[in-house]
Amino acid sequence: MTVGVKYCGGCNAEYERVRAVERIKSEASGHTFKPYKDGGVFDKVIVIVGCGKACAKVGERHEVVYIGSEADATSAIAMLKSTEG
């Protein structure tokens, strides 16, 4: 799958967002990760939000997975690995 990665701005991050993404990329390496862009084509988009406000927005047509903690990152890894070909 092609997975878009979208970060919130990070003004109130409650965990290390970049580290969480690096972990997802490394542990679900069977997928292709690309920076999210409006209008881009992705099978899934993971939105990395620093806090519960989850203010980052992506286009409505995408299948979105929100990551708001290290635990969410672990769940996302499991989900992505289960869909690896």
Binding site: V5, C8, G9, C55
Partner: protein
């Protein structure tokens, strides 16, 4: 270009031929001067964060002028959501630098200029809006930093510009030519001017009909002929000149600066003049710029507050008292005050509205409430930080003593705090608290909080004007059952 990298930004500054004076001497290379470099690093952070995917949601925006992706600091806000993102971006920058990052003034000036010129043209049939839009498209495309210059020296504050003994106490037009104007005067407290490519000048007060030569707005490069800058001193500034300066600075990477800018008969071409004698719009421009800028303080100072609160919490840990109830309560109070400021910044943005020109403006009453609180709360937050830190933050010997062969062992022994905490960590965090509360960064965190974007009384005047007291009185009469007979 649209978005410059940090390296490109610094390279672009190096190409400027600015006349910067410090300690009575012309600074040879401002981008390499140890007193100036920390402030350049702070401003450069506005470029560096724009390069990072994890911050681009706040740092970048799509220009409505050229369709390109640009730095949000050069953006014309198109919604309340944009205004909120501006506040969040400013908080982020304060968190990353622990200092004033200087780029807000130009952003706030541009947004005020964009909508004020529109309304000037609507009334006078002038073409200022078109000229300003063309100019700002250029700024966005180059990703330049623009210094917004408002505050005149003002001389005798009881007298208007034309009644001053020295007519140059407010910046003015001294010559009108076919191809432009020549201006003379000075602008005080210019934050970040040495790190800026351009300067956007505005009048400092509402003007009367006789003040036509003072109702002037324009933009010129910061190294234009006739411009010179005299660098402002900061408490503890020469610590940066010491050999291997690091620990004793508290914040060795970042800082801010202000300069006195002299305009010694500077020529401004017609295409860069955005107000030329329209006295009735000087007040509107001042109020709108001030409004935008007063809201900005609900972001930037909060970010620096985050750093100071974190430093105070660490000082408590290093002193071995993180669980003391009064310490916990003081930290809670600091967070409460800091988040109250943030609430004000968010509130005046959420209540923003569309101007005739199309860009969004903050709620003016709430922006002034925001800044009024900023004139007070950082002082209390700094007081609580000093309380938690203890007296050592101002009595601690120099780092050179800690590293001295003879003295170091004594300092390592007697300045030890909680077990497992290196003495140097204690040194560093206490110096950081010193830096923000009474060192170089206190210029930005304390006195700028008091006077920047207008002194407290300026906000109280605006609060009075915006308070809608007649409605409040009518509400009271209604509840109290007061019925007045009309004749």
């Amino acid at each position: 270009m649209g978005v410059m990298t940090r390296a490109q930004y610094i390279e672009s500054l190096e190409k400027l031929n600015m006349k910067v004076y410090m300690f009575g001497e012309l600074v040879d290379k401002p981008t390499e001067h140890p007193i100036i470099v920390p402030s350049m690093n702070s401003l450069a952070m506005t470029y560096a964060l724009a390069e990072k995917a994890e911050h681009q949601d706040l740092m970048l925006a799509k220009s409505t002028l050229n369709g390109e992706t640009i730095n949000r600091f050069n953006y014309l806000h198109q919604s309340s959501e944009d205004l909120i993102k501006k506040i969040k971006m400013q908080r982020l920058l304060g968190q990353k630098t622990g200092a004033c990052f200087q780029r807000c003034v130009g952003m706030d000036a541009a947004n005020a200029m964009f909508n004020t010129t529109f309304e000037m043209d609507e009334k006078h049939g002038t073409d200022y809006h078109e000229k300003f839009t063309k100019y700002w498209r250029y700024i966005q495309q180059k990703d330049y930093t623009v210094d917004g210059a408002m505050t005149d020296p003002k001389g005798d504050r009881s007298l208007p510009p034309t009644k001053q003994i020295d007519p140059d106490m407010y910046l003015r037009i001294v010559e009108r030519r076919d191809d432009g104007i020549v201006v003379r005067g000075a602008k005080m407290h210019q934050t970040g001017m040495v790190n800026s490519h351009e300067v956007l000048v505005m009048p400092t007060i509402a003007m009367r009909e006789e003040d036509k030569d003072y109702a002037v707005s324009f933009a010129v490069p910061s190294d234009a002929n006739g411009i010179l800058m005299i660098y402002g001193r900061q408490s503890c500034d020469t610590r940066k000149m010491e050999d291997n300066a690091d620990v004793d600075l508290g914040n060795c990477k970042f800082g801010g600066h202000e300069v006195v800018v002299i305009f010694d008969d500077v020529f401004v071409p017609n295409e860069r003049i955005f107000m030329n004698g329209e006295t009735e719009f000087a007040g509107m421009l001042v109020e709108r710029f001030a409004g935008y800028h007063r809201s900005s303080y609900g972001g930037c100072k909060v970010g620096v507050g985050d750093v100071l609160i974190g430093a105070a919490a660490l000082a408590a840990e290093y002193n071995g008292v993180p669980k003391a109830s009064h310490i916990k309560d003081k930290l809670i109070e600091m967070v409460h005050l800091n988040e109250t400021l943030y609430s004000c910044g968010i509130a005046c943005s959420a209540e923003g509205s569309k101007t005739k020109a199309g860009n969004y403006i903050i709620d003016m009453l709430l922006a002034n409430i925001c800044k009024q609180n900023v004139t007070r709360f950082p002082y209390e937050i700094a007081r609580l930080a000093e309380d938690i830190a203890g007296g050592l933050m101002v009595t601690m010997p120099s780092d050179k003593d800690f590293k001295d062969e003879k003295l170091g062992k004594y300092l390592e022994k007697y300045l030890k705090g909680a077990d497992g905490v290196p003495v140097e960590h204690r040194q560093r965090i206490l110096r950081l608290i010193e830096n923000i509360s009474l060192g170089t960064a206190a210029v930005g965190y304390r006195t700028e909080s008091m006077h920047g974007a207008g002194s407290p009384q300026a906000q109280r005047i605006m609060i009075s004007r915006q308070s809608n007291m007649d409605m409040k009185k009518a509400l009271a009469k209604n509840i109290a059952g007061i019925i007045e007979l009309t004749q």
